[in-house]
């Protein structure tokens, strides 16, 4: 008799990853994200100049052999800035959303699984905090604490955690009445074993979609704050900051001015395509069952 293999989180992830690229849309998304990640990782080593050194070329020059994307108004090499400035676009939101998932996930799962007075209290707390627009929270907090990296991460984590908690709470509440969870309880498995062995594997896929969507919102959100000058400060070469600095360059050097904007756009479109493809696969699979 072949022993029944219980799906491990890894095997599920592998299956989901294969499905990501099942559609054309998913493949385009994968490609766009891949391109960006290559720029983030390899870019800094390829950059011909120091990204924040001023006067490496004449001010606001159009593309030339020594400056392939031209220079900005302070005479900095735009290509070098572009190659250096991508990583924070993705990695700061990544850290923030991961933190939001840890907080919101723990809160939501605990309140869904334990229920009772604690569960209700958490639910009311979520009801009251969910409708608050994230941007307004950001304005208040940045006005007081400034726009350092940790403030950004904290804001995004605090604003998204209730949204994630709400979803996980509902998912766990649905699952706790399932027969296989009741069976595990009857077998006398510990709560930790039930949460990690029965509940988490079954909500992993929708969780991943939610993660991707949140990541996308966070990339846009943090970029907007940086664009408004509320986040990272000059001379950083963050793409969103580069976009706001390069607005005067557009008539003379469109390629240099558009590069950071295209990088940012391809990244968010890529994430969105990938997640849309996954959502489609998941809803197809559900309708098959």
């Amino acid at each position: 008799m072949v022993p029944i293999q219980r799906p491990t989180p890894f095997s599920i992830l592998l299956r989901v990853a294969r499905q990501f690229t099942a559609t054309i849309q998913g493949r385009i998304g994968f490609l766009l994200i891949g391109m960006n990640v290559v720029i983030f990782v390899v870019g800094p080593y390829l950059a011909p100049y120091d990204p924040i050194e001023t006067g490496v070329g004449p001010s606001a020059e159009a593309p030339s052999p020594s400056h392939l994307l031209g220079t900005d108004t302070l005479g900095r090499d735009i290509l070098s800035r572009f190659l250096h400035g991508g990583a924070t676009i993705l990695f700061v939101p990544l850290a923030a959303v991961t933190l939001a998932f840890l907080i919101g996930g723990a809160l939501g799962m605990a309140s869904g699984y334990i229920g009772g007075l604690f569960g209700n209290l958490v639910a009311r707390l979520l009801d009251v905090t969910l409708p608050i627009p994230p941007l307004l929270v950001a304005l208040v907090v940045i006005a007081r604490f400034g726009g350092q990296l940790w403030v950004m991460v904290a804001i995004v984590a605090a604003v998204y955690a209730p949204r994630i908690a709400r979803i996980l709470r509902a998912a766990v509440q649905n699952l706790t009445t399932m027969e296989y969870v009741l069976a595990a309880e009857a077998r006398g498995e510990s709560q930790t074993a039930i949460i990690f062995g029965e509940i988490i594997p079954n909500i992993l896929a929708p969780l991943l979609v939610e993660y991707g969507m949140r990541l996308n919102f966070a990339v846009s959100f943090i970029s907007s704050l940086n664009f408004l000058g509320l986040g990272v400060q000059p001379p950083s070469s963050n793409w969103a900051l580069m976009v706001s600095e390069s607005t005067t360059l557009i008539p003379t050097n469109p390629a240099g001015a558009l590069a950071p904007m295209l990088g940012l756009t391809s990244l968010v479109v890529g994430i969105n395509f990938l997640m849309d493809s996954l959502t489609q696969y998941l809803s197809d699979e559900t309708s098959r069952v």
Binding site: P131, P133, V141, F145, F217, S224, F227
Partner: protein, 341 residues
């Protein structure tokens, strides 16, 4: 980029026909209103704690470094900063809710309410302008998409909508600025003429920001309209009307539109709410002298009284419009007419 909407209250058919329905929807609206008030209270608490209590000494910030301890004490007494936190919160809440937002720290001695008032009007007009541009487009795309769901037009539209809805607002606004403001050059790329220009210049200055806001809104609202139109089109009364041989135009006018009026009103209110918050970015791209621009410049100069005012105003209107959106869906349900509501 507005986030996908929350699912709104859809009364079940059996629910509508039951005698208790009227009571249940009044209770629903009351619940939403209570929730809105609770949320606003949380916003006020967060705002107050962050900006008033968390260690910034307003007295030192306002009076500068060359100040005697006596002056500081007098100032604190005037501002009520020597009271207990709870008492200060009460006084603050009373002032804020009556429109007394205190003095701006940066514009020396200027009243925040004088600073804010003209901008509320401009931002509101901008929002209405954007809505009038966005709504017909969203209706057209939404109903077109629902009519031939998963057909060619729907697939292409959905793909475009997916891409546009992903873009950060400032990317959309900059694209509009470059294409129409710089490249074609028929409209001013900078909207500061709103506060001093001639009548014609003032109107022109509204166009590009309103267009950008509309572009941000259309994907979101057309998707919502498509979803509710699809739901209506799939319902039994539409099929029976089709089987009775009702003409296409009559079907749309008599059966489809009345049934999606609630969701449309919902979209309108939610969109307006999204605009009032989302225009912070777009106003700054175009230099539009509205509430959002004031908010960002106040954050940059740590003008906390102004930040408080703009945040509380935006949050109240956002929450009010959300409650209105919830109420609209329930109140505009055509099945209610039977109940004489």
């Amino acid at each position: 980029m507005p986030e996908p909407s929350k699912p709104y209250f859809y009364p079940e058919r059996a629910d509508v026909d039951s005698p208790g329905y009227r009571r249940s929807f009044l209770r629903f609206i009351a619940q939403r209103a209570a929730l809105g008030i609770a949320t606003l209270w949380v916003v006020s608490l967060v705002t107050f704690i962050t900006t008033n209590l968390a260690g910034i000494d307003l007295a030192e910030a306002a009076l500068g470094v060359r100040v005697t301890p006596e002056q500081l004490t007098i100032f604190r007494k005037q501002q009520g900063a020597d009271q207990t936190p709870v008492k200060r919160y009460w006084v603050w809440l009373k002032n804020v809710s009556t429109g007394d937002w205190g003095l701006s720290l940066v514009g020396r001695g200027q009243r925040v309410s004088d600073l804010v008032k003209p901008r509320i009007g401009r931002t509101f007009v901008l929002a209405l302008f954007a809505l009038t541009l966005a709504l017909p487009l969203a209706l057209f795309f939404g109903i077109l998409g629902a009519r031939n769901a998963n057909g060619l037009a729907d697939t292409i539209l959905s793909a475009i909508i997916l891409v546009v809805s992903t873009l950060p607002e400032f990317v959309v606004a900059l694209a509009v600025l470059y294409l129409l403001g710089v490249w074609v050059g028929i409209l001013p790329p900078n909207s500061n003429a709103v506060s001093y220009g001639t009548a014609k210049e003032q109107v022109e200055a509204y166009v590009l920001p309103a267009l950008s806001l509309a572009l941000v809104l259309v994907p979101y609202s057309s998707r919502m309209i498509r979803a509710s139109a699809r739901e209506v089109l799939a319902s039994p009364y539409i099929r029976s009307a089709l089987l009775r041989g009702v003409s296409e135009s009559r079907l749309l006018a008599r059966h489809v539109i009345p049934n999606i009026l609630g969701p449309i009103a919902n979209v309108v209110a939610l969109s307006l709410a999204e605009i009032l918050v989302g225009d912070v970015v777009i106003e700054n791209v175009f230099g539009f002298p509205g509430l959002g621009q004031l908010a960002v410049s106040a954050v940059n100069t740590q003008d906390l009284a102004v930040v408080q005012a703009t945040v509380i105003i935006s949050a109240s209107s956002f929450i009010l419009l959300n409650v209105a959106a919830d109420a609209a869906v329930v109140l505009l349900n055509p099945r209610l007419r039977r109940l004489g509501v």
